[in-house]
Amino acid sequence: MEKSTASKHAASQPPYLRIIDLTKKFGPFTALDRVSLEIFDGEFVCFLGPSGCGKTTLLRAIAGLDVQTYGRIEQSGEDVSALPPTERDFGIVFQSYALFPNMTVSKNIAYGLENRKNSKKEIKQRVAELLELVGLPDQAQKYPAQLSGGQQQRIALARALATSPGLLLLDEPLSALDAKVRVHLRHEVRALQERLGVTTVMVTHDQEEALTMADRIVVMNDGVIEQVGTPLEVYREPATIFVADFIGTMNFMPGVIDRAHTVTVGGQNLRCKADGMSAGEKVTVAVRPEDIIVHEAGGDEENVFEVTISEVEFLGSFVRADLVADQFAENRMRADFSINLIRRLNIEQGANISVAIPAERIRVYPEMQ
């Protein structure tokens, strides 16, 4: 597993949360298989993956709600592996909000503040503060059912933050909301987290959410971590074919390593940055649609070749074109071109154009199984 280099945290600082060789079994089914991970103080980390990949299981293990079968979890340097949730330090927000329906908003937020030697006045003050924080200062006396989904989720967030936990766990918190509210809340949650500096782990299956919100993304599949990295890293340099396929759109083509830094796809040699592979090795070549650029006369790009546009799909601000070329045989490539470019170069179905792929944007993986 490649280690994040772009982390904004100094390597000298001990991790806030250390997960070591975590395995979780449900009967014969292995939900997590020797997962190890370090999360630093103040970080916003997203667990991203398809359903059933183990991301929620990992979150619930961190919370102590479903304790792992093997492995160790350290929080603030303390071993919490076997502790029940009540003895761990975290606040949690669920997709369902889990607000107590029979209590008003302010009672919900105050719930965790009771029995902690707080005076009534202090509690009232803290509730007002939190309502202010989540931007709903005038909703204190309403019941959850009287609020919109987005408002309910903010109240759930306020309730989780009320006791100032060291760790905030978010289990698909935005998945039940409308698309617009979801986009809006992404920014709010992130801004709030940055303001409070609380270490946060969010589970999501929505890559856009992870890419926009996280400091680092943990991409999971089949109970193992595929890659840990910043949003840019997992997007630009996906470590595995799974990550390349799961995040964003990717063209995959079978290829053969020709010699160092050159791979052959069909009849076309492409320069690339791939290291450590020997000539003749069969590989899978991956290119993002937006990394295929139109070669105009006078340009000095490498990897230039001729293609025919077989199909054009209009997608709003850009166009996705299906490219075919004799040397690629049945392999098609999809390329994204901006509307401006299309207009300027008069690209349309059936046109022949020259395209180029920058060598550093070509990813090469050992052959897909």
Binding site: D21, G64, V67, A82, P84, I92, P101, A145, Q146
Partner: protein, 569 residues
């Protein structure tokens, strides 16, 4: 690096989750209630089972009692009789119930609410009452005996009619539910494919309710084969298993033979129970959250036919009650038909007098209060507890068992267990406490399932949130779970109250001179030939149960109004 060395160790080390104080407290609660179920159900059943292998000196004699049972045709023939009655009743009840449920859900006949309420009335009376009504209607000096064309009401005919009356509401509830979850889109597709009405009925309607019909069939079968009230009053010389137990124990003091018959009666009840559970699981799978509710269209002729049918069923049900009420008020049927309250002078008859009526109200109240607390708390601990899977699994099993145990069998098992000389709980025998315990246990399963269903419907993460906020579970339980589940809690308490008022079977072996009950008084007065006072007492039970039902209805409506602010969706 040392991390790698650590790592290898942790990867093999099984984590033993530490239980929190909440976990221990919840397990303790659950264990207490499990212990209750062991004492009130499992141990007594074991005592009864072992009794059936012993002679009256308590010496183990293997299968000798069973050999004697099957060697005595007068006894073993009751098996045939019981199954015969149960099968016929099941067939008739399911047919009648399906037709009424169909009228209630698929027609546009008027007064549906009224007919539905009337159909529920038999739940509010002891199963002895329809028998008494039949005696007045078709008995030797009855009002309309000629309607039987010379047949005798005492025997299978009487039992079947009484059982149909007694089991009808249970079947209607199940089948109405099955019919009302139908998806309108299926019918629209069928119409679009130009299927005619009969084809739609046989290809869409019937397959859609098949599990409901099967489930209703098993419920009716079990209720009938284990019922003791109807055959006792109207059975005459026609012996069934349930009356055999009573006769062996009360009449002949032959406890061992009573135990043998009980074990035999347990078998069909348990089989029906297991099959029904399997069918119910499939029924749940049929439920689709996105189904569009079917709105029936008016069809004048069809609606009129259904209305006529509903009126007929209502006349049957209300007629039985009216006959009982009339019989209770008539001074001396059939010789002096003037009306009066003579028959309400229960203190002048055998059976415990008015005290038994008030005892019943106490007993039903205690059962409702303590039963609801025990059942709901138990269901909460088992549903929301963490870890301790084996214990929780066993608890679930214990909670499901009472449904498969007929009341008479439970009552007899209590005699063997609690009345055993060495048992320190011996003092409970004949007390109010044992009546309450037996009744809670007898009706445990349905109450438990109601509680579990309600608990499953609330957000599964309340406990997780509460734990993250470091609040003890009992705070979540009392401040969130109970308020949110209050409608279900009220349903459980009313169910327990009404059943405690009407039940005869388990308590008939357990009451003492100071703890006679109204339902048992009905039985004993009828036995002594005081049929009119028996009818009067039966109607007292009906009025009490009906009032409490009504009270429950208004309380629920009030509650809904008060909490609608947070219940609205």
């Amino acid at each position: 690096m040392s991390v790698a060395a650590d790592s290898a160790v942790y990867a093999r080390q099984r984590v033993k989750p530490k239980a929190s104080r909440d976990d221990w407290q919840m397990r303790a609660f659950m264990l207490v209630i499990a212990l209750y179920l062991l004492l009130a159900l499992a141990f007594p059943l074991y005592a009864m089972l072992s009794k059936s292998f012993k002679n009256d000196d308590g010496v183990f004699i293997g299968l000798a009692n069973y050999a004697e049972y099957f060697g005595t045709p007068a006894l073993s023939y009751s098996i045939n009789n019981s199954i015969f009655i149960a099968v016929i009743t099941t067939f008739i009840t399911v047919l009648l119930a399906f037709t009424l449920a169909y009228a209630l859900t698929r027609s546009c006949m008027p007064f549906k609410g009224f007919f539905k309420s009337v159909a529920m009335v038999p739940i509010l009376v002891p199963s002895l009452l329809p028998g008494i009504a039949l005696v007045y209607l078709f008995g030797r000096q009855g009002m309309i005996p000629w309607l039987l064309f010379g047949h005798e009401i005492y025997g299978p005919i009487g039992i079947v009619i009484a059982e149909v009356f007694f089991t009808l509401p249970h079947a209607i509830i199940i089948i109405t539910t099955a019919l009302s979850i139908a998806d309108a889109r299926l019918y629209e597709s069928a119409v679009a494919l130009r299927a005619n009405k009969f084809r739609i009925f046989f290809t869409v309607t019937l397959p859609g309710v098949r599990y409901g019909l099967i489930s209703a069939g098993f419920v009716v079968f079990t209720l009938t084969i284990t019922d003791f009230g109807a055959p006792k009053v109207i059975g005459g010389d026609f012996n069934v298993l349930a009356t055999d137990i009573y006769k062996q124990v009360i009449g002949q003091q032959n406890f061992e033979m009573g135990a043998v018959v009980s074990v035999i009666l347990l078998i069909p009840a348990a089989v029906a129970f297991v099959v029904d559970r399997m069918v119910q699981k499939k029924q749940v799978a049929l439920l689709s959250a996105r189904a569009v509710t079917l709105q029936p269209d008016p069809h004048k002729r069809f609606d009129m036919i259904m209305l006529g049918y509903a009126i007929l069923v209502s006349v049957f049900i209300l007629g039985m009650l009216l006959v009982c009420q009339y019989a209770a008020l008539v001074k001396f049927y059939p010789y002096n038909l003037s009306l009066g309250l003579n028959n309400y002078q229960f203190d002048l008859m055998d059976g415990g007098g008015w005290d038994s009526y008030f005892n019943s109200i106490y007993m039903a109240s205690y059962t409702a209060i303590f039963g609801t607390i025990v059942v709901f708390t138990g269901a909460y601990m088992v549903e929301k507890g963490r870890g301790f899977d084996l214990g929780r699994g066993l608890f679930q099993l214990l909670a499901m068992m009472p449904m498969a145990v007929p009341g008479l069998v439970l009552g007899l098992a209590y005699i063997f267990f609690f009345n055993a000389p060495g048992n320190p709980l011996n003092f409970l025998y004949h007390s109010m406490a044992i009546l309450v315990i037996s009744t809670i246990t007898h009706f445990y399963t349905v109450s438990h399932l109601t509680a579990v269903t309600a608990l499953k419907q609330i957000d599964a993460e309340f406990e997780a949130v509460s734990a993250s906020l470091k609040q003890p579970f009992y705070k979540t339980f009392s401040r969130v779970t109970v308020p949110v589940c209050l409608p279900a809690i009220l349903d459980i308490s009313i169910y327990l109250f009404v059943n405690a008022m009407t039940t005869v079977s388990a308590v008939v072996f357990l009451y003492g001179p100071d703890t006679t009950l109204a339902s048992v008084a009905v039985l004993n007065m009828d036995d002594a030939g005081d049929i009119a006072p028996a009818a009067a007492m039966g109607m007292m039970i009906f009025y009490t149960a009906a009032s409490v039902r009504l009270l429950h209805y208004f309380l629920s409506a009030y509650l809904e109004k008060r909490t609608q602010k947070w219940r609205m969706r």
